[in-house]
Amino acid sequence: MLTKVYENLIVQTVCRIMVPFIQVYALYVIAHGHYSPGGGFQGGVILTASLALIFLAFGQGAVLGRITRRMSIILCGFGVFIYAGIGLLCLLLGGNFLDYSQLAPILGVSIPRARSLGILGVEVGVGLAVMAAMYSIILDIAGSPAPGIDQLTPESKK
């Protein structure tokens, strides 16, 4: 378990500059899943990679200050809620589960466009759920369960 924060100047400087661009790339992968290789799962994993980079460079306290353990579980459930919610909405509107054409009258677009937007919506849900689940897996594998864990200060060097 990583209880000690290994501070390395080059790693910390380069990682903190790269993280926003990695996150933009992850959201690009999610949003362009219909056109280029990618989609929800791939973008979610890249988002988790950006968080794992902060974890490795700055320690557990820094990454928990961004997304706490509790928040990651909430996000995971919220992602699944978006996915199943869109599917159930199509069911409630009279079609099959995940039959996006039923969303066309609500959104006010043509049926192929509604299908495209419906797929994008579930991809967002998948990306969110995947990011949160992989993030909590990383914390379970490599984090330390000391009390007072969800704090902003980094762990003291042991």
């Binding site: 080059i10 926003p20 661009f21 933009v24 790339y25 959201l27 690009y28 362009h32």
Partner: protein, 165 residues
Amino acid sequence: MLKKVTFSKYLATFLYLIFFWLFLSGHYDIFHISIGIICCAGISYTSTELLFRYQPDKKRILIIIEFIVYSLWLLCQIVIANLQVARLVLSPKLKIDPRIVVYKSRYLKGDVAKAAYGNSITLTPGTVTLDIHGADFYVHALTPAFAKALKNGVMERKVAHIYHK
């Protein structure tokens, strides 16, 4: 998260990220650009204090211009050092004498300048920055010639010229 962040820093981060998004995405229609704006706005909100952590000594635009000029010079150095290492490694005698030297920097202050110099050392073949403690750079060099070229301090003066006056 917006406690330490001014609006100009947020806007600068947002512009960097939206430029990156437009570079990645080939679709320049309203739908994709609006998705890009929403995504970049959200990421800028959480990541501005990552990008703009320190206040530099001189104007940022000057630093950017001088950095681009320096990177062109660095490219020449990389080509020269690549040829030297290739000649060294491909010869049957293999006259390498690897050593770790401590280089004490005199002009560099601040994290970004030191990281830039450390990365420049690593980028030029023959030398690799292992660690940086304060002003000491622990560098692994392939031959005494590379270590001596490091000690000349030409690269350090150029990097210090970028970030400090």
